[in-house]
Amino acid sequence: MKKNSLSPIIKELLKNGTVNYFLAYGKGSFWFKVRPLIIREPVELKNLEWNRFCYPNLTTYLKDSSRSQDKIGVVVKGCDVKSVVELIKGNQIDRENLFLLQVPCDGTVDPGKVENLVWISKLKVTGFEETGNGLEFITKEGRVSVNKEEVFFSKCYKCDFAPSPLVDRYLDEERLEKNQPSIDNPDLYEELRIIEEMNPEKRSIYWEKQFSRCIRCFACRNVCPVCYCPTCVFDQKDTSWISKGVKPEENNIFHLTRALHVATLCTGCGECERVCPMKLPLMELNLKLIKEVDELYHYKAGVDLQSISPLKEYGKDDYDEFK
């Protein structure tokens, strides 16, 4: 993972006018954090960052650019490209106004997992280094190393990266092959199995507990790249789909509706779950629908620009369990 090679490319693209500005990762306030960085002038490149913790999906910021005619460059990982596909299919961004610069990524690290693994508080760590297969964390007391394959985000283990014709430039052409963690036959729906195997009462209690913790901050919705409605259905002024106050009994309406609204669009980037302050297992809902859509209609979101979402289409000979 090298950021040094990133900088000159962005500089060049800004200089020759290919893009008006660049959306990239910038240094964050902690070692495990990065923040979105908008680069308009080469001088701003000094804050550029590219490391193991560049897990956020920057394409969500493209939602708001749909109205501008600016040419925007974005630093993307393989998984982020899928969100771009859905944004283009939903007419939210113009392919022509976009420059995708893909960085090679073989997995992003979940700081929470690091913390759990080495039993040191995030705040005690002052920095980290990459060492071959592992990561070394620097603390005042010394160095702690972990095997990086143990601390990836769960989406990274399921990475099915394939080079996309949408990408304008790859940072490292030779490393395309190695662009994902080397996991054979990942179990795509691992998380679901535990819940699917519960008996209905247990499942019901499980979800009731989860939904009751929701504080309706809407972070899950706001961060989602495919939640691009200018005014969300739950923010409509004249129609009360759910109460505006936090009524726990209506939380499930919100969460199930949200899951249905992103069904066939959700690419599994996991941002909703990552940003949830209450740590609701939102990806379980999304994954369930990804699985059902795949099994019923053989469709996956974010794969190509041509295929049409099965919720926008119909089949006369569809599976029909209704009487």
């Binding site: 499942r203 019901s204 789909w241 499930n252 249905l260 209704f322 009487k323």
Partner: protein, 141 residues
Amino acid sequence: MEIVAFLCNWCSYAGADLAGTSRFKYPANIKVIRVPCSSRVNPTFILKALANGADGVMVSGCHPGDCHYTTGNYFTRRRLLLMKRLLEFTGVNPDRVHLYWISASEGTKFAEAVKEVVEKVGKLEKNPMSSIEGEIRYEKK
């Protein structure tokens, strides 16, 4: 027990009317909301009904291929199938939500369908989604 039924105007609502003119009896738990087409039924309406004290929801449209608007019910079929799978996943018994295809000539089928829904919903425990039971929203005069 409360069952909300969304009936499409052209087939199922007319089928329910036919059940009436033929005097086929069925339980009174069912409250019908008339919609032009089953494709007008937003899955969120169903969630809302379940959260608002309904014990079950029934949606009924024209038979696939016979939709008054030609293709509406094909969309309904996909939308509600996914929704049912999701509900089941969150612990809601799939018997709480029913989708039927009932034509304008199927008065008997409508009456039987209502009986079936009432019977199935009757076997279920209290609706886990509804916690508003008994709350009075309107100030009565």
